[in-house]
């Protein structure tokens, strides 16, 4: 019985002393929790940032590659450049090509146009609606065409293409240069 009482007293005393530690503990726990939360959220922010940067790089790279390949392929297949609707030596140029690929029945040739409007590269095949080649997530900073003439009917086009990521915060840019001779598939 005595033990019980002493136990009770002990418990009461203990309880008091425990109350004090508990408040201190709450403070320590809160502080620890705060620090941990800051570290973890910082990690998370960095991960999201890194993800966004890698997405910017990926978008710019895949768009640049696709656009350049589409334009150079069309150029190398083309028979000639249609001068009146082509703009050379301009940062946002445009080009019209006369081609023998994918012509309509009973037609000798077809036209393909490439131009930049509102930051996107557009393509129109003759008789079809214009379609945007570049994704909305990127902006075309430069679509510069330079016409090189190596000789009589030896036309080549030097294309400088700059693709920028549309969001200012995660900037990424790629500048590609390629020269394509108009060979009409020979």
């Amino acid at each position: 019985m005595a033990t019980k009482i002493s136990n009770g007293v002990n418990n009461f005393q203990k309880k008091e002393s425990q109350r004090g530690t508990t408040i201190l503990e709450i403070i320590v726990y809160t502080a620890l929790f705060g620090i941990i939360a800051i570290i973890i959220s910082n990690f998370l922010i960095q991960i999201v940032n890194a993800y966004n940067i890698s997405r910017a790089e990926r978008e710019v790279l895949s768009n640049g590659r696709l656009l350049l390949e589409t334009v150079t392929k069309s150029l190398s297949e083309a028979e000639e450049i249609y001068t009146p609707t082509s703009a050379f030596n301009k940062d946002l140029g445009q080009i019209s090509l006369v081609t023998k690929t994918n012509v309509k029945p009973e037609h000798e040739t077809a036209f393909i146009d490439f131009w930049v409007d509102n930051g996107r590269l557009w393509m129109r095949k003759e008789g079809a609606n214009p379609s945007a080649l570049s994704a909305a997530s990127v902006r075309i900073g430069k679509f510069r065409l330079e016409r090189l003439s190596q000789g009589l009917r030896r036309d080549a086009v030097r294309l400088t293409l700059q693709v920028n990521f549309a969001q200012q915060k995660f900037s990424s840019t790629i500048t590609l240069t390629a020269t394509t001779a108009l060979r009409g598939n020979y």
Partner: protein, 362 residues
């Protein structure tokens, strides 16, 4: 037994305290040590996994940037091959046959076309150095390219190299042949010309730096036959560093209607050293009537006729001065269309003529 009883009581008390308390945190006091270890381990696991995720993203970014460089380098190497093919298309005899084997060259655009320069290029886009090697080709008895056999002077092996950064390289190899000799393409020939204007001086102040001084012109007269003009060569050189882009027009008179416009030559790619024949091509050929006077009018982009348009120069267009006009078939003029007046036919230079060559389709 008593011990066991007291322990039981202790538990009871504790349990009671839990029930009474509204502080569930008090739970921790019971197994305080374990809670801390648990938290530390949990934080450890979370941190390691988050760190791993972050590293994955960082590696992804690095790889993507590397891939971007690879693509840029690849395209430059392909451009080297395309430049050599263009040179082959122009003329095997004058462009390819004369190159030294196993010597470094690099392609550059000069006066609107490719040419080969000796050595290795300076850094393109601040990063990539390119060079081309030509190698002789030998064929075996069955006419296949082999390591030993008979030399084939009409085939060359080309090795295009791009080097950048810390020993990164990209090498493309291709063979070119002189197959165009078996095709007879259309040819052009020099038909009307004045080549005595070799004086290297600033006669026309073209393109004028923002003063709207207008354009220089040179007229010529056709022969008794109808001809198709494919190209005009002018004897010019670049003086200023920031020369505007140039284009040439064929007009009925200095201010008359435009019959044809040449391709645009990039100002920065015009040669600086001495006066040289620079070709302005008319991809859409210009038909010239017999015994008629036509005018070549040199234009700049932005236009030299407008004050403060941003045009920059000047160029020197080789000329000759004699007491009477040195070229009987036409006249030189300067300041044509000055100060945004399209009807201003400028100043007649009756003692001067500029050098030019007109090529026509044969």
């Amino acid at each position: 037994m008593q011990n066991g009883n007291s322990k039981l009581n202790q538990y009871k008390n504790t349990a009671q305290r839990y029930l009474n308390s509204d502080f569930s945190l008090l739970h921790f006091e019971f197994n305080r040590g374990f809670g801390l270890v648990e938290i530390v381990v949990a934080i450890g696991i979370i941190s390691v996994s988050l760190f791993a995720l972050l590293q994955t993203e960082i590696v992804a970014i690095k790889l993507l940037r590397g891939e971007k460089e690879n693509l840029e380098a690849m395209l430059l190497a392909e451009e080297s091959l395309e430049a050599v093919r263009s040179l082959r298309d122009e003329s095997w005899a004058s462009n390819i046959a004369g190159v030294s084997d196993n010597t470094s060259y690099y392609p550059i655009v000069e006066n609107g076309k490719w040419k080969l320069s000796a050595g290795t290029s300076s850094a393109i886009n601040g990063k990539y150095q390119r060079s081309i090697l030509f190698q002789p080709v030998v064929r075996n008895a069955s006419d296949q390219i082999a390591s030993s056999g008979t030399a084939d002077p009409n085939t060359k092996k080309i090795i295009a190299t791009i080097a950048w950064g810390n020993k990164n390289t990209k090498i493309l190899t291709a063979y070119i042949t002189n197959f165009l000799t078996s095709i007879t393409p259309a040819t052009e020939a020099k038909s009307f010309f004045f080549e005595n204007g070799v004086t290297d001086g600033n006669l026309s102040n073209f393109p004028s730096n923002n003063s709207g001084d207008g354009d220089p012109t040179q007229s010529f007269t056709t022969s008794t036959a109808t001809t198709t003009m494919t190209r005009a060569d002018l004897y010019i050189k670049k003086v200023g560093a920031n020369l505007s882009d140039l284009t040439l027009e064929v007009r009925t008179s200095p201010t008359g209607s435009i019959l044809g416009t040449s391709t645009i030559l990039t100002g920065s790619a015009i040669s600086t050293s001495t006066l040289s024949w620079v070709s302005f091509r008319f991809p859409d050929f210009v038909t010239l009537a017999p015994n008629t006077n036509y005018t070549l009018r040199l234009r700049s982009i932005p236009s030299s006729t407008d004050a403060w348009s941003g045009s920059a120069g000047p160029i020197h267009w080789g000329y000759q001065q004699t007491a009477s006009s040195p070229y009987a078939g036409g006249n030189a003029r300067r300041y044509v269309g000055r100060l945004s007046n399209p009807n201003d036919s400028g100043q007649l230079l009756d003692q001067y003529d500029f050098s030019f060559r007109i090529f026509t389709l044969q």
